[in-house]
Amino acid sequence: MTELVDILSNLSFWVAVLRIATPLIFGTLGVLLCERAGVLNLGIEGILVAGAFTGWLTVYAGAPLWVGVAAAAATGAVLGSLHAFLTVGLALSQHVSGLGITLLATSLSYYGYRVSFPKVSTPPTITPFAEMGWLGLPVLAQQTPLTLLALALVPLLAYVLYRTPLGLSVRMVGENPQAAEGQGVSVAQVRTGAIVAGSALMGIAGSFLTLSAFNAFFFNMVNGRGWICVALVVFASWRPGKALLGALLFAFFDAIQLRLQQSGSAVLPYQLYLMLPYVLSILALVLVARKASYPQALMKPYRKGER
């Protein structure tokens, strides 16, 4: 108990929470945007990998860090438009398209990495984003600009969704595409746009791993973070604010378990500590997201002129 207290009272713990949460925030917002428009995007896991790779590669090739981030976003956007082409243009199953893209993006990144770096002893590195010491604020000062961007995106996305015609159309195509079509909004265009933008966010999420959290690209380094985001969106019942909350909550559990696991009084097998975040997420889901009100058209392909 006292242990828990001094963990929580340690400022650097909260620094860690925010750091761990950052990629999840980007990713969750990305998924949220796609699903608000009615499209499930299981491509996220792969898009994270691709974003991590291209973002890093760009910087390694000598470009500035922010260009790397842009490259990652662009990669995400490209993969997103593939997903859009398959799920919106051709109205294929969103599950299979998503999983297909995950497989494609992942293996393509690995292949690209190996082709570009055949000889390896220790993986090549770049100089990642620096902490924002200049920023006077406590916890934020030990974060990198990407974290700031992630935090800024939350209110921004909320504003777009709830306070702009574009956002309204996004929500409408996710609720009732026929209605949107009937009011002169092109379902295909809006959905495509949402998927592309959302996937770009996922790309940035990936780049955080290689441009901020670490300084090199590794195989399997994304390690399921994408799937977590898919879960968090439901937990957030498709609201940006709650998405932030969810990401922080998950990161909180993760940071806690890392600290509990290593203390001498840790009697349980380490796996149980690693389980903590997932178990608690399901619990949270049961408490928060029972009967969550879905975007009504989620996972329902829409073909104009058919019923």
Binding site: T164, L168, E175, Q178, A179, G182, G184, V185, K304
Partner: protein, 514 residues
């Protein structure tokens, strides 16, 4: 007459082999109300869908206000001042009325929504046409009538000069319909033009200036509403005369089949409060009422998809079985309100839909093994006996028009698999003991309506106890031996039809004591 605001010429639309619209040419005058009539599946919705740009016609073109209209582009239609109220609501339940209405009215890339302005404009429009709605209510929480108003407001908000209404009254109560007609009159007064699709010939003749009749995708007749009779219209639609079913007085009610004793259930708008009712064999009890006063609860209760929270429901002495399957076994025939959402599983073939209710009986399965041959044979008989058109036993149920879908449901409910005859419900021994029909005729064309009503009466005469719940007063008065009125979950005493007048019923529906 002033030159037409809308001209359709040679519109043709095919779905596969089927020609839904066959080179239809039609025009609409300024300030004119044109009624579009036709059987289920005649091509009405298709035609207006093309007009509004949902479908792209295979041939023909459209001019609105002199400008020719690009095909398959609702945006253009809206811009040209065409508004459409779809047959099946196109609203987002999770969004507010205002959101639903203003969606798409602002440039997509505008950095902010002008909400207050929009709310004001909505209020104006609503006020101008007397369409009261709460702008901030979630659409999902609204009554059917209110949703209908939202649909119309959507169109008017976009400044529609031509309004298309596809079966607007199919889902409305008489009162709501009346209110709608007042609105239409106002619109016409303000120079709008209206295309109005309906199966209710009475109202058609009242509100429209001109009628156009489709049959099998062809335009078969046009005439001024003045001086045209209902039977004339029916004749055009179906191709032959249709005689309204005349209800011979019941051959005397038999023993009590089903009894509700102080039954209460449900909550909110859909509750029952201490309802008492006796249903006797050979008698048809019709229940009138504004929808949303507990009819759904009552229907579900007697269909086995809901249980009573208080009171007793008995079927022939024993307590009413809880599950639909058992109800069917005990001879209860059920006709649900929403044929599309509840009546059939659209993706499955007709034969499975027909057999589904009795799939768990020896008739159609042994040891969980479906007797496909028997089921298909049964389906064939239902299709033949109830004249279901537009699909064979193996085609998907969704491809049926509402009318045929309803016949199918009726058939599966009334024709017992063991009934020797393939002729409707004549076989005395196998007629259902109790028939629960909720809105059995909404959305159906006149021919289908008459057919369904005829079957229900025939079943009554064959000894079934029949309960018809409907908010169509004409239907209630045509069919009911006894009539009861539902209001706020309470049910009035069921008195002989002769004791009621339209007025007294109307009062009762409005909640007045008597």
């Amino acid at each position: 007459m002033s030159d037409p605001v809308l001209v359709l010429s040679g519109i043709t639309k095919r779905f596969g082999s089927l020609v839904a619209n066959d080179s239809i040419s039609l025009h609409l005058g300024a300030g004119e109300v044109l009624a579009l009539l036709g059987e289920n599946g005649a091509g009405k919705s298709t035609l207006v869908s093309i007009l509004f740009g949902h479908y792209v016609a295979d041939a023909g073109h459209i001019r609105a206000f002199g400008q020719s209209l690009p095909a398959g582009d609702p945006k253009a239609a809206l811009a040209a001042g065409i508004g459409m109220v779809h047959q099946h609501f196109t609203l987002a339940d999770n969004l507010s009325v205002l959101d639903n209405v203003m969606m798409g009215s602002e440039p997509l890339w505008q950095p902010f929504t002008r909400r207050s302005a929009a709310r004001q404009r909505l209020a104006e429009v609503a006020q101008r046409f007397g369409l009261a709605v709460d702008a901030d209510a979630l659409v999902g929480s609204l009554s059917v009538g209110a949703r209908q108003r939202v649909e119309i407001l959507k169109a008017l908000y976009r400044g529609a000069r031509i309004l298309i209404l596809d079966e607007p009254t199919a889902v409305l109560t008489p009162q709501e319909s009346e209110a709608l007609f007042d609105v239409l009159t106002q619109m016409v007064a303000q120079g709008l033009s209206i295309i109005f699709i309906s199966h209710k010939l009475g109202e058609v003749l009242r509100v429209s200036h001109r009628v156009a009749v489709l049959r099998g995708g062809k335009l078969v007749a046009q005439a001024p509403a003045q001086g045209t009779t209902q039977s004339q219209l029916a004749q055009w639609m179906v191709g032959h005369a249709i005689e309204a079913p005349v209800r011979q007085p019941s051959r005397g009610a038999g023993e009590v089949v089903c009894e509700l004793d102080n039954v209460s259930t449900g909550r909110g708008r859909e509750k029952l409060h201490q309802v008492n009712l006796q249903l006797r064999s050979g008698e048809l009890v019709a229940i009138a009422g504004v929808s949303g006063n507990g009819q759904v609860a009552l229907a579900e209760l007697l269909s086995g998809t809901r249980t009573a929270s208080a009171g007793r429901v008995t079927l022939q002495g024993q307590p009413l079985p809880a599950s639909p399957a058992d109800l069917v076994k005990r001879g209860v025939a059920r006709i649900p309100e929403d044929r599309h959402a509840v009546g059939v599983v659209g993706d499955l073939p007709l034969w499975e839909n027909v057999a589904s209710e009795r799939l768990r009986t020896p008739a159609f399965s042994i040891w969980g093994w479906v007797r496909r041959a028997a089921a298909k044979a049964y389906a064939q008989r239902v299709i033949a006996a109830f004249d279901v058109r537009g699909g064979g036993a193996t085609s998907a149920a969704r491809a049926l028009s509402g009318g045929n879908m309803q016949k199918l449901i009726l058939g599966r409910a009334l024709l017992h698999p063991d009934a020797a005859t393939t002729d409707g419900v004549q076989a005395q021994t196998h007629t259902p003991r109790l028939i629960v029909a909720h809105q059995p005729t909404w959305g159906l064309d006149i021919g289908a309506v008459r057919y369904v009503q005829g079957q229900l009466l025939a079943a009554r005469d064959a000894g079934a106890a029949v309960l018809v719940i409907s908010d169509d007063l004409d239907e209630v008065l045509t069919l009911g031996d006894r009539v009861a009125v539902m209001h706020a979950g309470a049910l009035s005493a069921a008195r002989p039809a002769e004791d009621w007048t339209r007025e007294t019923i109307g009062l009762a529906m409005a909640g007045a004591e008597h």
